[in-house]
């Protein structure tokens, strides 16, 4: 599948035709709903206390719909006027003409146009990756990401959270995004759902102000009870570890005795010449003098 982000500006890609197609595909509606529900779960909003939530790249309002059902008030921003027009029509469609949502035409890469400490929370569903591409010579992805995250840091209330689901094209993009978020002061990291499925895999950047919170536990707190899904956190641990380079996480589980024995076995079955297993197998060697 080719990436729409490579075809130019989002407002050109999400034109009237595409906006309608997007909004009327039941498959799309189902997928976006499921992602948003997961994002809202990671936001840990208290549904008994309605929050004011910013929805970035709100599109035709599919993500806002989920917030709405839970009684939250939301403000959707999108760079595509055609997507917003479809969102507006929805509002007018509902027979009761009721909605807790409001809409704004805006490019997140130019920084959010709000007063400080305005929103209780922020979500963004399938939009953030657009900031990794430049649509003109003047646009610099790094600058736009920095501007976006530092403005997000300002407009969120202290104690608020942001959960941004995105589709990185490469591992570097995921790192660029999460690093930029931590550089402006956010704590948090990336949660990956279904890491082993190319199709179902989803990245959620979970951001908060709580630097005392161990991001891994924090981000995975809800995941442990959920047997169906598998989660992995990538990116640096934040806050107190800032600046210190952490060894890649993989190394921890790997090269254990079991793993080495398993590898040796596998090699043997392939008919390779492998040294016998002894009590010294997988022991750490002492450093040289």
């Amino acid at each position: 599948m080719s990436r729409p982000e490579l075809t130019g500006h989002a407002s050109l890609f999400y034109n009237e035709k595409e906006a309608r197609k997007y909004d009327s595909s039941s498959r799309m509606i189902g997928v976006q709903r499921e992602i948003t529900e997961r994002a809202v779960e990671l936001l840990r909003l208290d549904d008994s206390k309605p929050s004011l939530v910013l929805d970035i790249g709100c599109g035709s309002g599919l993500s806002g719909q989920v917030l709405e059902e839970r009684g939250h008030v939301w403000l959707g921003c999108d760079v595509s006027r055609d997507m917003l027009t479809v969102a507006k029509e929805h509002e007018e469609d509902t027979k009761v003409l009721q909605s807790t949502g409001d809409l704004m035409h805006h490019d997140m890469g130019s920084g959010l146009p709000f007063r400080p400490a305005t929103f209780d929370a922020c979500i963004s569903i399938s939009a953030l990756q657009w900031l990794c591409y430049s649509n003109s010579a003047a646009q610099n992805p790094r600058k736009r990401l920095t501007r976006f995250f530092s403005s997000l840091y300002t407009v969120l209330k202290r104690g608020g959270r942001a959960v941004l689901q995105f589709y990185p094209e490469t591992a570097e993009q995921a790192v660029l995004i999460s690093e930029t978020a931590t550089k402006v002061g956010f704590a948090g990291g990336v949660v990956v759902d279904y890491p082993n499925s190319a199709k179902a895999k989803k990245h959620y950047l979970v951001l908060s102000f709580d630097r005392s919170l161990a991001p891994r536990r924090g981000a995975l707190g809800t995941a442990e009870q959920d047997q169906k899904q598998q989660h992995v956190t990538v990116g640096e641990a934040l806050g107190s570890n800032k600046g210190k380079k952490q060894p890649p996480r993989k190394k921890k589980g790997i090269k254990t005795k079991e793993w080495i024995l398993h590898k040796k076995d596998a090699q043997r079955t392939k008919g390779k010449d492998v040294r016998p297993d002894t009590k010294y197998t997988a022991r750490r060697r002492r450093g040289k003098f």
């Binding site: 008994s48 004011l52 507006k88 807790t100 035409h105 007063r115 209780d120 003047a138």
Partner: protein, 132 residues
Amino acid sequence: MRLLTHNALRNNAAAAKGKGFPLRITATEVEVKDSCPFDEHRLVFVEGLLSTLDWSALIEAASQLGIPTLPPVLTEDLAEDPEFLEALHHVLMNVHLIQGILTCPATGREFPVRDGIPNMVLEEEDCEHVRY
């Protein structure tokens, strides 16, 4: 666009130097509709808003939309009066600017509102040097 949204909007273009609030409203079409009915849930919501609302900006904006009835100061008594909170909720959620212009008080830049949607798009050079 709701007045709740207007109360949050600020022109953050570099030229506004952090003084792009509140945006002045020139209204050509305003609609009052019961788009978000009041209930207990909503009461909790407005109570939560009281600490973050900019009251003088709200009074000004409401009067620019033809609603001159808000009290000049938000007293503690009012903050606990459910009837007042319901009226406030109505002003924040049910009054919609459909067509008009938002003008930045610092730079005079105009942001059009069309079909209820404000256009806050900035050019790259307008936000180049913004510091948050």
